[in-house]
């Protein structure tokens, strides 16, 4: 962990009355001469967030004479008008169930729903739209794999390898599975800068796990994991690989073909889509061999009183009427992101992340920043602690300034145990985030410090 501390002056942690443990090695960093200022970022940013903001109706809302500085995109993203319109359009003009109606509306609804599947498939580099299963979110996608592939393929004494970075959604489903199967979990540790210890990973692979499941990007500290290299090594060890892409898909180019993983899960609502939208991608042969998840309508081919044959993939995994509007909204969201260009999205967020890490390190005395320093393997998730101020108080007070951040353990309690913090404050970015949002964050944090001093 890199703790950015002022190079001189009294130690703010030692001076405060309430003990706040400092994590990590406490490396002091000098001001980065390579970090551009706000004007320079505005000039070189591949996106113009001020233009993008016009597409997001929420910025029309007044929060006490200003717009909201929304810095919680890792929890859920804001929604552009095209997504809202796509959902409305289905509900107002094309309402019907999918795969059923022998009438114009039914065919339109089916075309919109399956069109969204095609868009999502292309967006994440899938070769075949039949490899996209619509789910509610990444959590459901991972539970689906655990309950179907996992139940069939994990047995007593088998090992699943996870990491210390995982969101509870990529942890609890596997705990439930191994309890049922009397199997084992092992965990790749992180180093003090929040990167996975690859030597430990290799050592765990030598135990021949059946499955390796890890996050593409940490929602807790912003680490971008070297997915392709980790997948290659897992495959050489005979393991399948599930990647939790919830924090990657909205923020950078993702191609499941290039990553060469076996399962890829993500939430649509973090990628500008509606809540209730998400997708599981899996290799077609895996999906075909997997038993169904839930039973009901749509997932069947033929049903008799005592037996059923199942539908083709992906519909085999989509029992019951799906959230049609959400799926169509997700299709509009990924089309919007494609229009922006995911390379540009990543370029924009990379600049903002460097700016934020620098602004916090040099503008907020004593702040502890978690996760890797700005660079190729750092995403736009910035978790931090202020000495002597609990993250909850930070978030409550910033809310008074219309600055929205997350405080807590961000569904990564084991990671926070590793960091030695019960909770952290977290600012996370999206396509609409600006240096002004970050300036408001820093100004708000200085007010918090003044109040608690």
């Amino acid at each position: 962990m890199v703790a950015y501390l002022p190079s001189d002056g009294p130690d703010p942690v030692a001076d405060c009355d309430v003990a706040v443990p400092r994590t990590g090695s406490g490396t002091a960093l000098e001001a980065g001469p390579d970090v551009p200022d706000a004007a320079e970022i505005a000039r070189i940013d591949p996106l113009d967030p001020l233009v993008i903001r016009r597409d997001f109706p929420i910025f029309e809302r007044d929060f006490g004479g200003r717009t909201v500085a929304y810095l919680d995109s890792a929890a859920t993203s804001l929604k552009p008008r095209v997504v809202v319109d796509a959902v409305n359009d289905y509900n107002t003009r094309h309402t019907a169930n999918v795969h059923r109606g022998i009438y114009a509306l039914g065919e339109e609804a089916t075309a919109l729903y399956e069109g969204a599947r095609e868009r999502v498939a292309r967006f994440i580099g899938a070769r075949d739209r039949h490899e996209i299963v619509f789910v509610r979110n990444a959590t459901e996608a991972i539970n689906l794999v655990a309950a179907t592939w996992g139940r069939r393929n994990i047995g007593a004494g088998d090992t699943i390898v996870l990491t210390e970075l995982e969101h509870h959604s990529n942890l609890v489903p596997w705990q439930m599975l191994i309890q049922e199967k009397d199997a084992d979990l092992e965990f790749v540790p992180i180093d003090d800068e929040g990167r996975l210890v690859q030597e430990s990973y290799d050592a765990l692979l030598r135990t021949h796990p059946k499955l390796v499941a890890f996050t593409h990007v940490s929602n807790g500290i912003g680490t971008i994991n070297p997915v392709r290299e980790m997948v290659d090594r897992a495959h050489r060890a005979g393991a399948l690989v599930l990647v939790d892409g919830a924090q990657a898909v909205p923020h950078m180019p993702v191609s499941v073909a290039e990553l060469d993983c076996d399962f890829y899960a993500f939430s649509g609502h973090k990628a500008l889509g509606p809540t209730g939208s998400g997708a599981l991608w899996a290799r077609r042969e895996l999906l075909e061999a997997m038993p169904p998840y839930m039973g009901g309508g749509e997932m069947i081919r033929e049903v008799h009183l005592r037996s059923t044959t199942y539908n083709d993939v992906p519909w085999k995994f989509e029992a019951g009427t799906p959230d049609i509007a959400a799926a169509i909204g997700l299709g509009a969201a990924v089309e919007y992101l494609v229009g922006l260009g995911m390379d540009r999205v990543r370029g924009h967020e990379r600049l903002l992340t460097a700016y934020a890490l620098d602004a916090l390190a040099h503008g907020v005395p004593g702040v502890t920043l978690h996760g890797p320093r700005a660079g190729d393997d750092r995403a736009g998730v910035v978790s931090f602690n202020l000495p002597g101020v609990h993250p909850h108080d930070v978030a409550t007070l910033l809310d008074r300034e219309a600055v929205a951040i997350r405080a807590g353990h961000h569904c990564t309690q084991p990671l926070h145990e590793r960091l030695g913090e019960a909770a952290t404050a977290r600012a996370s970015f999206g396509v609409y985030s600006t240096t002004d949002d970050i300036d408001r964050l820093v100004a708000g944090l200085r007010k918090v410090q003044a109040l608690f001093s």
Binding site: V18, H390, H392, D393, T396, E401, H416, K447
Partner: protein
């Protein structure tokens, strides 16, 4: 922003009363806030007459949860359990005297909820403590 946390709250946070441990407590109860991972350990000595003789707490939390624990422990020291049982969630909020948003209610009530569990074998809590405050 500074009208939200009045000076008394911040003072309790900076210098919490009854912060520490008891050597041979009669009752030890841990409480936690699953939303944020905050923890509180409450220790009580109760004498033969059923009076809270001594009380202490440790743990980590935000200004609201720490101030509320500090105030609550002040309040119950020397109080008979029959009186402690009358302390409701709303009393705790009233004593804090600040606007608590729904998201922060668990922080404000962690101490009284922990106290209630600590003493649930010994006293019949009044029904109102079970209610979510309006």
């Amino acid at each position: 922003m500074d009208d939200l946390y009045r000076a008394e709250i911040l003072e309790h946070y900076r210098h919490p009363h009854n912060f520490g441990t008891l050597e041979h407590p009669d009752v030890v109860q841990e409480g936690s806030n699953p939303l944020c991972g905050d923890r509180l350990t409450l220790m009580l000595d109760v004498d033969e007459q059923g009076v809270v003789d001594e009380v202490a707490f440790t743990g980590r939390g935000c200004a609201i949860s720490q101030a509320s624990a500090s105030m609550l422990t002040d309040r119950i020291r020397g109080l008979p359990l029959a009186e402690v049982a009358k302390i409701g969630r709303q009393d705790v909020l009233d004593e804090l005297g600040i606007e608590i948003s729904p998201a922060r209610l668990k922080c404000a009530l962690l101490s009284v909820d922990t106290l209630r569990r600590a003493l649930e074998d010994r006293v019949a809590w009044q029904a109102e403590t079970e209610e979510e405050p309006a």
